[in-house]
Amino acid sequence: MTAVSSTETKIKKKRAPKPFTNSLIAGVILGIVLFAVYFFTGDGLGASGGANRIAIWLAKIIAPGWVNSTPYLIKYGGGAKKPLDSFIVMLDIGVLLGGFLSAWFFGRFGKTTIKGPHITFSARWIIAFFGGTLAGFGARMARGCTSGQGLNGAATLSVGSWAFLLAFFAGGYILAYFVRRLWF
């Protein structure tokens, strides 16, 4: 039994979840979406920029003084600036909605934790948070994540984005062996 099926059995299902779409067909659909957003708006897709702005918005509620004294954060949320007032945040709202609707429609929505068989739930949550922190930090460093830098830049032939993608895959492969117990 593979790890995937072991985690999927934990999903409480009212009806059987539909299998995922063939990865190549999903790629064609994603490619058409990426083309369409460029053609109609001139901007590409993105995810981490919106998350960053939402984070700054939350930080501004909790600690406005800190946001207003940190140069990088002032750019997005200093003074009267509204961190949420950006198309990138709208894209993220859409991603959440679209992901939810698709999961729900195909019977794949369910409260669960995806994890390997050898780690506990709480360990998985802490490690997911830590992985997210690395990704969030990296996405700021690279001025974009796998979508905003990777997909957009590769499709529009940016040299930096192709270098970024190589590094992204390299990073995954370099560490994969050492963290295999997290997954399988």
């Binding site: 990865s23 994603l30 990138i88 894209l91 990704a135 001025r143 930096g160 590094a167 992204f168």
Partner: protein, 410 residues
């Protein structure tokens, strides 16, 4: 011509709604591929499930082919779409960190959102981590600010780097990309065979889909090669708006507006002088940059990285060669440029005629004044006079910058 600006066109609420719809399509595409499930993503790095590579590269190739096909046909303007600027080393380091993030945490920022909204708790923790990581970056970036801004190359593309025509690069990327997708499909099939989960029927279906996509992409690559990419002259001939601007005289900025713009804190003025080196050495405006008319396409590319509020003023002795340069600069609507009305000859007439003797009946676009020594911009009249009071501009208008800096994840 596409692209459009949904917010400018439809107003903020409707424009933002457009982006929410695109976001929904994006989120749903990720969800149907299985990117809300961490094992579908990390399998990539253990030579198991190759969905990450197959889906990602297929989407890149499809989007790229459609983009450059429509650009070639003149329906979409490449200069006005967001191309992530290259900061080589920060980009590579960030890529590595995202690679570590996906193998440790199971997602990248976009897929973790889809995971969260599919109800997966690990996805929600990952999203929280992404937000924390962004804030952490914001609070420490000052300590490595120089590195963060190092190796900046602006809008630097594969055709620029390799010195090959864009359509050739596209063909190469499509062929190599398809080979890699076929390769990763073989890796995935080998894994499924080991696990005994590959049915004959599924294998055939998969190969059929892969063959169809391959044929379609190769046909598009062929079409892109045949059509080619538009030159500045093609773009000018299609640009009715700028042709009208020239015909109605709205392309010519009078000296007093140029002087005012020169000191305007809201304007980043770029003065381009397309005259011969001799004329330039004799007399040129302060901070004017001499550009050979043949180098204008190169300068136009550089100017894509210029900041918001940039106004380019191009000048020759009269107007003829300045207008030719101007046509190339504005052909693709990405540069906000004007011709100095009457050229340098008129500038001298306006601000410095007591110094030189006028040449009556000089040939068109030749220097119309006898200038005794090559003082360049050290003539008093070469410094634009600072206006006492700012008047509203009649010709010079600010133009919204194309999304070349902060799109995508900015």
């Amino acid at each position: 011509m596409a692209p459009f600006d949904p917010v400018a066109l439809l107003g903020k609420p409707m424009g933002y709604a457009v982006f929410i719809l695109f976001g929904m399509a994006f989120g749903a595409s990720l969800e149907i591929a299985g990117f809300g499930v961490a094992h579908k993503l990390v399998g990539q790095f253990y030579f198991k499930d190759q969905t990450v590579f197959k889906t990602m590269f297929t989407s890149v190739l499809v989007a790229m082919a459609l983009l450059f096909l429509t650009i070639g046909l003149g329906w979409l303007d490449y200069d006005r779409i967001f191309v992530p600027p290259t900061y080589l080393w920060p980009g590579i380091l960030g890529g590595l960190l995202l690679g570590f993030g996906i193998i440790i945490g199971g997602y990248c920022p976009g897929t973790s959102m889809v995971s969260s909204s599919s109800g997966h708790l690990d996805g929600i923790f990952f999203v929280a981590g992404v937000m924390a990581g962004g804030l952490l970056f914001g609070s420490v970036v000052d300590s490595f600010w120089d590195f963060y801004n190092s190796s900046f190359m602006g809008r630097f593309t594969l055709p620029d780097w390799l010195g090959l025509p864009t359509e050739v690069i596209i063909a190469i990327v499509i062929v190599v990309g398809l080979l890699l997708v076929w390769g990763s499909d073989l890796i995935e099939k080998a894994w499924k065979r080991r696990e005994g989960i590959l049915t004959e029927e599924e294998s055939k279906k998969d190969t059929r889909i892969l063959t169809t996509i391959t044929v379609a992409l190769l046909v598009m690559a062929g079409a892109i090669l045949v059509i080619g990419q538009p030159t500045l002259a093609d773009a000018w001939n299609r640009n009715a708006e700028k042709q009208a601007m020239l015909a109605e005289g709205r392309a010519f900025a009078p000296p007093h507006e140029v002087s005012q713009a020169y000191y305007d804190p809201l304007i980043n003025i770029v003065l381009l002088d397309v005259r011969s080196e001799r004329d330039y050495n004799l007399y040129h405006l302060e901070n004017a940059r001499r550009v050979d008319p043949n180098d204008i396409p190169q300068v136009a590319k550089e100017l894509l990285d210029a900041p918001e509020g940039t106004v380019v003023i191009v000048m020759s002795n009269d107007e003829t060669s300045a207008v030719e340069a101007w046509k190339q600069l504005v052909a693709k609507n990405s540069i906000n440029a004007y011709v100095l009305k009457g050229g340098v000859n008129n500038w001298i007439a306006e601000y410095g005629n007591e110094q030189f003797q006028q040449i009556v009946n000089h040939p068109d676009d030749a220097l119309g004044w006898v200038i005794p020594t090559a003082l360049g911009d050290r003539w008093t009249s070469a410094i634009p006079p600072q206006p006492h009071e700012n008047e509203p501009y009649e010709i010079i208008k600010l133009q919204k910058k194309a999304p070349t800096g902060a799109g995508g994840c900015g």
